[in-house]
């Protein structure tokens, strides 16, 4: 007899944060840096010929927002697979889901071209390097992605963009259910999944401090090596 899965359990990034495991080094990035980049990039290249022809300004912003979340997810699974500390079914999920998230990233970048935001740098704070931390974080990421896509669906202007978004949205939900099952919680906690607005998603992502500034590895001072 398989033990009953705990009902209605939600793992959120907020909750991960409260565990204190993720915040040791504190925030090292000014607020607004991560997803704020989206708007900046779109404006900066607004005047240039774009491969994203026929996509409205509003849709470009939404696509870049989605891309920022796909970056986050694909980097998370890629690092997990490369570090290879996660084993068994969880490793298989990381491999399969990661391959899908990378395909999403490529598709977004191809569509957005020069309007695509840059890939940020991430510090996953050990969550890619430990079995339980990985599963817990994967659950939070996937549920977050589902809520994020859902929160945008009715705001998308172009039918072609909407068609793409909904076909990703349900795949993210499959991922969410899969990693929840591996983590040992109910894959579908409720009869209805509620969306979350962009501001809330961004606040949650920033609260993790997973997005960091690049460390300084270049200097201009005179070398004092042994010569």
């Amino acid at each position: 007899m398989i033990p009953q899965l705990p009902a209605g359990v939600d793992v959120t990034l907020d909750q991960l944060d409260r565990d204190g495991a993720l915040r040791e080094a504190g925030s090292r990035l000014p607020r607004g840096r991560f997803l704020g980049l989206a708007a900046g990039a779109a404006v900066a290249f607004g005047g240039l010929a774009s491969p994203a022809r026929g996509v409205t300004k509003g849709d470009v912003a939404i696509l870049n927002y989605a891309l920022s979340l796909e970056y986050l997810q694909s980097a998370f699974y890629t690092e997990t697979e490369r570090v290879a500390a996660v084993k068994g079914q969880a490793a298989r999920a990381a491999r399969v889901v990661g391959a899908v998230e990378r395909a999403h990233v490529i598709a977004f970048r191809n569509l957005l071209g020069r309007k695509a935001i840059k890939r940020p740098l991430f510090d996953f704070r050990g969550t890619t390097e430990d079995q339980q931390a990985f599963l817990k974080t994967a659950v939070a990421f996937e549920d977050l992605a589902v809520a994020a896509y859902k929160g945008q669906a009715h705001l998308i202007e172009s039918d072609a963009v909407l068609a793409a978004a909904v076909s990703i949205h349900s795949v993210e939900a499959r991922h969410a259910a899969w990693v929840r099952h591996l983590f040992g919680i109910r894959p579908a906690a409720n009869a209805f999944d509620e969306g979350k607005p962009r501001a809330e998603i961004e606040r949650i992502v920033q609260s993790t401090s997973f997005v960091v500034a690049r460390s300084r590895t270049r200097g201009r001072g005179g070398p004092r090596f042994t010569g």
Partner: protein, 232 residues
């Protein structure tokens, strides 16, 4: 069943704006090395526990005021669920390895490159993904100031300084001269250009690895920070 043809059919979904291809599998993880910056001053210990002896203290900055880096060689989770990272350290004795809490490090970066300096043949060879992509003659330490042998890494890159002696670019490494321990800024071994190209290849330096300026410029285009360095 009422036939859908009794009224106009609901429109089919248009071709999606995103062309999402097949899932993208990763290349094999061979030749990959991870590095991370030290974001908190921390004691590196001989085992992944706070009670293990300290093997070195790590600061967040190098003497060159760049981020201090370590290579991440492995990891484990302790009984309290804390992740520890096994790291290659930029300290004497050379080749020291220790454990630090993962929380003292920043984000992991991966490189596929590896630099090998051969003290017998006086060459530097860069490999990417296991394939040779660069080779150049080098100058290394004289017999009284030998370039240390072992496993190290590239930890910073200096340029725009005014010192013809070091050429246009100087890479800092985690290797330290075992004899010039009172050298300013710790006696770290650099890989840099030179204003005396006629001396290369040769055993001519205080321990640093010198290259002709065109060679160091060519190397600089292909050598990411965090690249493991083998000196043999």
């Amino acid at each position: 069943m009422a036939s859908p043809s009794a009224s106009p059919a609901l429109a089919a979904s248009p071709a999606p704006a995103l062309r999402i291809g097949q899932p993208v599998r990763l290349r094999a993880a061979r030749y990959l090395t991870h590095w991370a910056p030290v974001v908190r001053s921390v004691a590196a210990r001989s085992a992944p526990t706070v009670t293990a002896p300290t093997v070195a203290r790590l600061t967040t900055q190098t003497p060159e005021q760049t981020a201090n880096l370590v290579l991440a060689l492995g990891r484990t989770t302790d009984a309290k669920g804390r992740v520890w990272t096994r790291v290659r350290l930029p300290v004497l004795p050379n080749n020291t390895i220790g454990w630090v809490p993962r929380a003292a490090l920043g984000g992991l970066s991966a490189v596929r490159t590896r630099l090998v300096v051969d003290l017998e043949r006086l060459t530097a060879t860069l490999y990417r993904g296991g394939r040779r992509v660069f080779r150049a003659p080098v100058g290394v330490g004289r017999s009284q100031w030998p370039t240390p042998r072992g496993e190290f890494y590239i930890r910073n890159r200096l340029s725009s300084y005014r010192s013809p002696f070091y050429g246009p670019i100087a890479f800092g490494t985690s290797a330290r001269s075992a004899v010039l321990t009172d050298w300013p800024a710790g006696g770290f071994v650099g890989i840099h250009g030179t204003n005396r190209p006629e001396l290369l290849p040769g055993r001519v330096s205080h321990g640093c690895i010198r290259m002709r300026n065109p060679d160091i410029l060519r190397l600089a285009r292909q050598l990411p920070i965090g690249t493991p360095l083998t000196i043999r």
